[in-house]
C-alpha cells in the first residue's frame, strides 16, 4: 500500500463526506449547477476591497528588487510591526513585532502553534460542535483532542470544561465567531473560562488559550468581539485574511502571542522553527507586504448580514428550530429528524445541499454556509417551506 495507515484511516472515516459530495456533484450534472442550491462550502464569495486591489497592483508595478525572495521565517519585520501596532491600539497591551509571526493562513498558524506546544498525549480541549479540521491539527503533532459539549445555545459550558481538564491538558482551543454555529462568545463566559485556567495556573499547570479568530470581522448587529488578550494572559490568537479581505486562496494570516506571556522567547522561537520545518518556511511574500496596511479594513460585512437575515427568516418561517447567529457565515439549525445524515439526504432531493451536524461532532443538526449569492438563498425559500408542510 502506497499510503500511510493514518491517512487511509482518515480517508475511510470521512467517506460519507465524499459520498455526499459525489451525490451533490451528480445532482449538479443532472439538473445543471444553477438548479442546485449549494450551502456546503465555506468559500467566501466576496472580493477583496477595491483599495486592496489597487495597492496590490501598485506594489507589483513598483518592481522592487528582492520582493520575491526569502525573508526571515517569522515574516517581514515591517509587516509584523504594522500588525503589532494594530494589536497594541486594539488591546492597549505592549505588542511588539516579536509577538507576531506571519503564517500560511489560520490553518497553517494553528499547525505551527500545536507543533510548538504539544508532546505526544498532551490534550487540547475543544468546545463541541467544532470545526472538524481541529482534530487533525491537534492529532498531526501527537496531541489528543478532548471535546466538551457546549450549552443548548452553543455557548461555553464552563463547568464541563473545568471537569475535562486534567494533568495532560495543554490548551483550550476556541473559535469565535464559531464555525459551524455562528455563535460569538461573550465577555462574561470568557472571563469565567479565564478564571478556571488561572486557578490551574496557581496550582502550577499552565494552560494556553488558543483563539482561532478567522471570522473576527464577520460580526453583526454591532456586536463587539471580546478582547481575549485582556481576559487571559497565556493567550495566542491565530487569524487570517481569508474572510475579512477575501483572500482565502492566497493563504495569508498570522499568530499573535500575548505580551503578557511569561518567558515568551522560547515559545516564539519554537513557533518560528515549526513554521520552517513543517514546510511553510514563510508566509507568501507578496501578500505579507500588503496585509499589514489593511488591518483596520474589512470587506462589507453588511453583505453577509443581509444573507444571514434572509436565511434565518426562511428557516424560522419554515418551522426550523434555530439560533440566530451573531457572526461568521454559518447557521446551524436543528434537524427535524434525529438522523441528520438522512435529513440532509432528504434536502438533497429538494436540490438543497447542506452538511450534517455529525460532521461537526453534533448529530441532530445541520450546517448551512450562507456565503452564497443572495439569489441562491431566495430560491431555497420554496424548498424549505415545502418541508414545513
Amino acid at each position: 500500500m502506497g499510503i500511510s495507515k493514518s491517512i487511509s484511516k482518515s480517508m475511510k472515516s470521512s467517506s460519507w463526506i465524499r459520498a455526499m459530495f459525489e451525490e451533490g456533484e451528480k445532482l449538479k450534472k443532472q439538473y445543471g449547477p444553477e438548479n442546485i442550491l449549494d450551502f456546503t462550502l465555506g468559500n467566501p464569495i466576496t472580493e477583496p476591497p477595491r483599495e486592496f486591489k489597487e495597492e496590490l497592483a501598485k506594489i507589483i508595478a513598483s518592481d522592487t528588487k528582492g520582493m520575491h525572495r526569502y525573508m526571515t521565517n517569522s515574516g517581514y519585520e515591517f509587516v509584523r510591526q504594522e500588525i503589532a501596532d494594530y494589536c497594541k491600539e486594539k488591546t492597549k497591551l505592549p505588542f511588539s513585532k516579536d509577538n507576531i509571526i506571519m503564517t500560511v493562513g489560520a490553518a497553517g498558524g494553528l499547525n505551527v502553534v500545536f507543533k510548538a506546544l504539544l508532546d505526544p498525549g498532551n490534550e487540547v480541549i475543544v468546545p463541541n460542535p467544532y470545526f472538524v479540521e481541529f482534530m487533525f491539527y491537534i492529532g498531526n503533532h501527537g496531541g489528543v483532542m478532548k471535546l466538551v459539549d457546549t450549552k443548548n445555545d452553543f455557548h461555553l459550558d464552563i463547568g464541563k470544561i473545568e471537569k475535562a481538564i486534567n494533568k495532560k491538558t495543554k490548551a483550550v482551543l476556541i473559535n469565535s465567531p464559531n464555525n459551524p454555529t455562528g455563535v460569538v462568545y461573550n465577555e462574561e463566559e470568557l472571563k469565567e473560562l479565564a478564571s478556571v485556567l488561572r486557578k490551574k495556573r496557581e496550582n502550577g499547570q499552565r494552560i494556553f488559550l488558543i483563539a482561532d479568530e478567522a471570522y473576527k470581522k464577520l460580526i453583526y448587529n454591532g456586536t463587539v468581539l471580546p478582547d481575549v488578550f485582556n481576559i487571559y494572559e497565556d493567550t495566542i490568537v491565530v487569524t487570517c485574511h481569508s474572510k475579512d479581505l477575501g483572500l482565502a486562496g492566497e493563504r495569508i494570516g498570522y499568530i499573535a502571542a500575548s505580551p503578557a506571556i511569561q518567558n515568551i522567547n522560547p515559545l516564539m522561537d519554537a513557533m518560528i522553527f515549526s513554521n520552517r520545518i513543517l514546510g511553510f518556511i514563510n508566509a507568501p511574500a507578496l501578500m505579507q507586504r500588503i496585509v499589514g496596511k489593511f488591518q483596520n479594513t474589512s470587506i462589507d460585512i453588511m453583505e453577509y448580514q443581509v444573507r444571514r437575515d434572509a436565511i434565518y427568516d426562511i428557516l424560522v418561517e419554515s418551522g426550523f428550530e434555530v439560533i440566530k447567529p451573531l457572526g461568521a457565515f454559518y447557521i446551524f439549525p436543528k434537524s427535524p429528524m434525529p438522523d441528520d445524515i438522512q435529513f440532509v439526504r432528504e434536502l438533497q432531493k429538494h436540490h438543497i445541499l447542506g452538511v450534517p451536524g455529525i460532521g461537526f461532532g453534533r448529530s441532530g443538526y445541520f450546517r448551512l454556509a450562507y456565503c452564497v449569492e443572495m439569489d441562491v438563498i431566495e430560491r431555497s425559500r420554496k424548498y424549505f417551506n415545502e418541508f414545513a408542510k
Partner: protein
Amino acid sequence: MIISNKIQKLIANQEGWTRRMFEEGIKIKKMYGEEKVYDFSLGNPDTEPPEEVQKTLVETLSNPVKGMHRYMSNNGYEDVREEIAIYLGEQHGVPFTANHIFMTVGCAGGLNILFKSMLSKGDEVIVPSPFFWEFKNYIENHGGAMRLAQTKKDFQLDIEKIEKAITKKTKAVLLNSPNNPTGAVYSEESMKGLVGLLNTKRAQGQDIYIICDDAYKKLVYDGFQLPNLFALYDLVYAVTSHSKDLALPGERIGYVAISPRIPDYELMVSGLMISMRTLGFVNAPALFQRIVGKFQRSSVNIGEYAKKRDVLYEILMEAGFECVKPMGAFYLFPKSPVPDELEFVRTLQQEERIMVVPGRGFGRKGYFRIAYCVPMEMILKSREGFIRIRKRYMKR
C-alpha cells in the same frame, strides 16, 4: 517548559552552532560593514524573476478577475495543472495528466504532504549523505525515520551502501539532484544502478518509491542532461518548486508530479488532498499558481550561475583546496584543510570575514559548503581571503 519537549530538543540539537555562528556573523557585519563581509552561507538567490514573469504579474493584477483570490481545489487550479502536465509529458515522454500534478507550498511543503501521506510510524526513508538537514525534520514530522547512506568520494550514489541501508521498513529513497550541499548531479549510470536495485526489491514484493527533490532541476551546467527518472522507474514522485528557476522563493510555489505508472495513483492524490488540508497548507497560493503554469519552460539566466561556479572553483583550486567540481545547483562542497571544519569555518569568518557553513550541518564533518548565489563582485573580492587562509593552514 511551556513548549513541547520534542521541539525543544530539535532546536537545541540543531541550532547550537548555527545560532552561534549566525550571531558572530551579525557582529562581524556590524563591525566591518556589510560590504566588507563575504556571506556565502545562505541559499537565498540574489537573482530577480525573469522579466516576462514580472510582466505577467503586472498584467494579471491590473486586470483582476472575479474570484481570483478564492479557495480552489486542494490540489490547485486544473488549468495550471494541465499546463504543467503538458510540459512534463514533453520532457519525460510519459503520459502525465492534470490529475498527476499537485500544486504545493514550495518544495518543502510538497515533501511534507508527501511524507505525511506515505509514512506510517517507523517507516524508513533512505537519504544519501551529505544531505540537506531539513529532510530529517520533514521525515520525522510524520513519524518516519531517516536512514543515511554515505555517497562515494565524488558524491555520486553508492548503490551498495543504499542496498545495505534497506530494511523491511524502507518505504522510499529521497534523492536531491542537483544536490544541496555538494552540487553533484547523479549520473544516468548511478540512477540505473539504484533502479536495478529497487526493481529487484519490487520483484520480491517490497515497493520502494523514489522521491526526487528537484528544486534545482534547471540549474544544471555544461549542457548536462538530468537522467529521465520517470522513464527509468515506475514508482516516482518528483517534488519541485519555482524558488530557484523563477527566483520566487518567498512566494512559496511548487508542485508534486506523480508518475502515471504508479498503480492506484488516485489513492495517493486523495491522500495528498487530506494532508494538504490538514497540515494547514490548504492550497498553494492562488496568484502564483496562475503565473507559474505559463513559465514551465523559462528559467533565470543559468549562464550567470555557471560563470560564478567557474570563477569560484578556480579560486579554490588556486588556493589549493580539494573540491569536486559541481555540475548543478549553486553550492560547492570543498574539503576542510583540517578535520575539525567547525574550527576552520569560524577562523575563516573571524579572520577573513568569509561566511560559509560547516559540513556537519549536512551530516558530513571535514567539509564546508559555499553558496555562490551571490554577486560576482563578492566572489572576486573573496579570492585573497581564500588564498590567505589556505596558506595559513598549510603551515600548520
